[in-house]
């Protein structure tokens, strides 16, 4: 299984942490509008370069937030207030989603063959985020611009979690 990237959004809709492991498949470009209709020929060319030059990682984060935010709201309208979506996938990638009652959103992009990462995201929240970010008394309560989330303990443990546990 391959993990492409990982994002955390706070309750103010801000991306407070992002991490990328591998060059993304190019067809992520069109994800928020028409994910499956992307011609697959594009991604076989020079995906990383093409994708990277087209957008920055900031744009990625915004696109992803917009997508999960709308999807979550739609799911709640259709399935009731307690309903939430777990993941969606396209021909190129799979997006996993976990949201806490405090409105912190955890998002992970993996290859399409990966099993559900909901438990993994929940573990990242419980064992890494709460332990190393929330409980660090010197880190701020809110994290504008990712302040306080990017501490060494959290990043190292995340790296370990993704490389050891998930691969």
């Amino acid at each position: 299984m391959v993990v492409f990237s990982f994002y955390i959004f706070d309750r103010h809709a801000e991306c407070i942490y992002k991490r990328q492991w591998l060059p993304r498949p190019v067809s992520i470009t069109a994800k928020s509008s028409r994910p499956v209709s992307e011609p697959s020929g594009l991604s076989n060319g020079s995906p990383a370069v093409f994708g990277q030059s087209a957008r920055t990682t900031d744009d990625d984060a915004k696109l992803i937030f917009g997508t999960v935010f709308s999807l979550r709201n739609m799911v709640r309208k259709l399935g009731g207030e307690d309903d939430s979506f777990v993941s969606y996938h396209t021909s190129q990638y799979k997006l996993h989603y976990f949201e806490t009652p405090t409105n912190i959103k955890f998002v992970m992009l993996t290859d399409t063959k990966s099993p559900s990462m909901r438990i993994a995201l929940q573990q990242i929240y419980i064992n890494l985020y709460v332990e190393y970010v929330v409980k660090n008394p010197l880190s701020p309560v809110e994290h504008p611009g990712g302040l306080g989330v990017n501490n060494e303990l959290f990043e190292q443990s995340l790296e370990q979690f993704v490389t050891r546990v998930l691969s």
């Binding site: 309750r11 103010h12 809709a13 801000e14 915004k62 937030f65 917009g66 935010f69 207030e81 307690d82 806490t100 009652p101 405090t102 409105n103 929240y125 419980i126 985020y129 709460v130 929330v134 409980k135 309560v141």
Partner: protein
């Protein structure tokens, strides 16, 4: 969630224990220091305690959710039960009684039969502390901070305290509003 199930959750959530006297003495020292720093201006001490509690609550809620793995409450009554039977049980090993609901279900009281923060405490005999200082006011802030993070704006204050010679220790909690989801700022 049924009441008994909620109570069981409070019992079962795994938490590390800490010596009760250590908590009491630490908290007492903080209050004493604040009284000193603000020249016995007890109103200001109440305010500072509430503010400290608020900052604690905003973090504590994440720990609460991580340990109890509970979801969103369906209504404010369920929230009150959760606060008393899971929250207070987990962090202070007490279960304050939820009572005195208003008819619109937006206000309730927590009655503290025991209060680990106030063991060994006697308020100073300066003729004012008995009327002005809410010794455990940090708890109000904790609730306010914690509930704000789960989209509830509330107001909490003590209305009586055994330390002042009242019969009960009672905190009044009122729901102000549910907080809407924030949208990302428009840029284009």
């Amino acid at each position: 969630m049924s009441a008994t199930k909620t109570a069981r959750l409070g019992e079962e959530s795994r938490v590390d224990k800490v010596n009760a006297e250590l908590v009491t003495l630490t908290y007492g020292t903080i209050v004493a220091q604040l009284c000193q720093d603000y020249d016995e201006d007890y109103m200001e001490v109440n305010k500072q305690l509430d503010k400290m509690g608020y900052n604690i609550g905003m973090r504590l809620i994440e720990d609460f959710l991580a340990k109890s793995t509970v979801g969103r409450c369906a209504n404010f009554r369920e929230t009150a039960d959760m606060i008393s039977k899971v929250g207070f049980k987990m962090f202070l090993n007490i279960t304050p009684t939820v009572t005195n609901w208003t008819s619109d279900n937006n206000q309730f009281s927590l009655i503290f039969e025991e209060n680990p923060l106030a063991d060994f405490v006697e308020l100073p005999d300066d003729g004012r502390a008995q009327d002005e200082l809410w010794f455990s006011n940090i708890l109000c802030g904790v609730l306010r901070g914690a509930l704000e993070m789960v989209q509830m704006q509330i107001e909490a204050h003590f209305v009586s305290d055994v330390l002042r010679g009242d019969d009960t220790t009672e905190m009044r909690v009122s729901l102000v509003r549910y907080i809407e989801d924030e949208m990302p700022p428009d840029e284009e």
